[in-house]
């Protein structure tokens, strides 16, 4: 019997993993939440939209076209089974618990490739619970997949490559961008330059984009607070690198500090984690090819935050590891392993140039909402840590933080930073939140109704 390999995620990593497995004669099943394959960076608009890939993806259009065509071809020729609009909720002895539009389904597998990608890495700014505050990723998705700006007058703030990129794309599309506020100083950015030169063309493109932003762009700012009224955001207050206080009126703020790996499924699959000082977050442990647990392989930004090009490389590598372990004919990984070294040097440069704002987090006023799902404040977190101990899982159960709608995706890193500062310990000592199913909220009915098992008649 041929091995059943399940791939979770149909972004660049999942697509390249599928291609590699098909090349060795396997027929993987690819489970993805999107209606159409592509992932977040190469996300496709719904049918009926007319802008060409060149408008949507700019310089990356050829890569987007190639990945979309490759995957659509694999599905059309019956070489890959694609479960679209399907969320993996958890894993048990029978396989993956998948929530599909028509109900719950169990997908059995022998080997699992997890390519769940990343979300924005968020740091709270006082007032960020207001309507009209979005992640930078959301800002880009709105433009790319819907053709809209999420406000009339926009401020983008935070740090990382997406900040400049989204600002440039919005301006080009005719949006009113009032300011681009980067918390990374010019000194940080210079310190990252050596790593960024691992990919000179990409680094230059970033510099050119920055130049086009001109006076809208400010480096080394401190974000003070987002002001709002009953309708939502009205302004953002910030202090410049030279200490000048400003107030910029706007009805939308896009926030983000690069990426946070989406690792809950890897955790449920039994992977171990290490705290990465470089990325200021817990990342799964794996070998160079992505082997992370018995029969479990990881790829893409959910393993190493390397961006879309890196995801293609690690997607292939994970599939190669899987094929090797199955005793099947696997392609030679040498070229991709070499590429990985360059990609990692560049990614370290990015991390150094656009750091996580740890000092800002540690100094957040007590009244700041940290958990925007349930309104838990910095002060409440600090006092919970005082009586319950400075451990992430205890703070979660005692303080309701990370228990809300987003399951901690957007507050746990900031929460850990705050608690560490308050307890005077290192951030990794706060620990990592245990992974719990369902990793996406599921309607109660989906659990009550019996699940169908793939390949078995109802």
């Amino acid at each position: 019997m041929t091995a059943r390999v399940a791939i979770v995620g149909a972004g660049p990593a999942g697509i390249r993993a599928a291609e590699t497995l098909v090349g060795a004669g396997l027929k993987p099943v690819v489970i993805d939440e999107g209606a159409r394959a592509g992932g977040q960076i190469y996300r496709r608009p719904p049918p009926g939209f007319t802008r060409p890939p060149e408008t949507l993806y700019g310089s990356e259009a050829p890569k987007a076209r190639a990945l979309h065509a490759l995957f659509d071809g694999l599905v059309e020729s019956g070489k890959v089974e694609h479960l679209a609009q399907s969320a993996v909720l958890g894993i048990d002895a029978d396989g993956l618990n998948v929530l599909r539009p028509e109900g719950r389904q169990v997908v059995p597998y022998d080997r699992l490739i997890v390519a769940t990608g990343a979300t924005d890495r968020l740091a709270p700014v006082p007032g960020w619970q207001a309507a009209g505050v979005y992640s930078l990723g959301a800002t880009q998705i709105a433009l790319k997949a819907q053709g809209v700006a999420l406000g009339q007058r926009l401020v983008l703030a935070g740090s990382g490559p997406l900040l400049t990129l989204v600002a440039t794309q919005l301006l080009k599309a005719g949006a009113d961008v009032a300011a681009v506020l980067d918390t990374a100083s010019l000194g940080d950015q210079a310190a990252g330059a050596a790593g960024l030169l691992a990919r000179p063309a990409l680094a230059l493109r970033g510099v050119a984009m920055r130049a086009r932003l001109g006076r809208l762009y400010h480096a080394g700012v401190t974000l003070e607070r987002i002001e709002n009224d009953a309708r939502g955001v009205t302004a953002i207050r910030w202090t410049s690198a030279s200490g000048v206080e400003s107030r910029t009126e706007c009805d939308m703020v896009g926030l983000g500090w690069h990426l946070r790996a989406e690792t809950q499924l890897a955790g449920l699959a039994g992977c171990a984690f290490d705290y990465s000082e470089t990325w200021a977050q817990w990342l799964p442990r794996s070998d160079r090819l992505g082997r992370a647990a018995e029969g479990v392989y990881l790829a893409g930004d959910g393993l190493r935050i390397l961006g879309a090009d890196g995801a293609e490389v690690t997607g292939r590598l994970a599939a190669i590891a899987c094929l090797q372990d199955l005793g099947l004919n696997a392609p030679d990984p040498v070229a991709d392993l070499k590429r990985l070294v360059t990609l990692e040097r560049f990614a370290h440069g990015i991390a150094r140039a656009f750091p996580w704002p740890a000092a800002h987090l540690r100094a957040l006023p007590d009244a700041t909402v940290v958990c925007r799902c349930e309104g838990v404040t910095a002060g409440e977190l600090r006092s919970v840590a005082d009586y319950g101990g400075a451990e992430a899982n205890r703070v979660k159960s005692l303080g309701r933080t990370s228990m809300g709608r987003c399951q901690g995706r957007y507050c746990q890193l900031a929460g850990a930073e705050l608690i560490a500062a308050h307890a005077n310990i290192d951030t990794p000592a706060v620990g990592r939140l245990r992974d719990q199913a369902p990793v996406r909220p599921a309607p109660v009915g989906a659990w009550v109704n019996p699940a169908r098992t793939a390949g078995r008649p109802d």
């Binding site: 809209v148 009953a230 309708r231 939502g232 349930e374 309104g375 987003c406």
Partner: protein, 102 residues
């Protein structure tokens, strides 16, 4: 205090799509075919729902199905995640939980 009914999002492209009619809290609203519910609602009003833990209205956050900030109610039918559900003709969206909870 109810926010003034002004749209939150601004359309920059792809405006030639077919119109779709739906209802927000009983009021007629219009959107374009291919809009997500989030886009469709915020093209008419500034928020999706009230927060259950604070005074602020909510308007979504991640647009990628990760934050669950954007769930809205229907007059008839299950709750919907606005950022990943397409708008359809005749849908009746509620920005507050329906009074007659099943």
């Amino acid at each position: 205090m109810t926010p003034a009914p002004s749209p939150r999002v601004r359309r920059l492209a792809e405006t030639g799509r077919a119109p779709v009619g739906f209802l927000i809290d009983g009021q007629p609203a219009s959107a374009l075919a291919g809009d997500t519910l989030l886009t469709a609602i915020l093209a008419n009003v500034p928020a999706l729902r009230q927060s259950e833990f604070g005074p602020e209205p909510r308007a979504g956050f991640c647009l990628m199905g990760a934050c669950q900030d954007c769930w809205v109610w229907q007059k008839d039918g299950p709750r919907l995640r606005a950022c990943s559900t397409p708008v359809t003709d005749g849908l009746h969206i509620l920005t507050q939980p329906p009074e007659t909870w099943p």
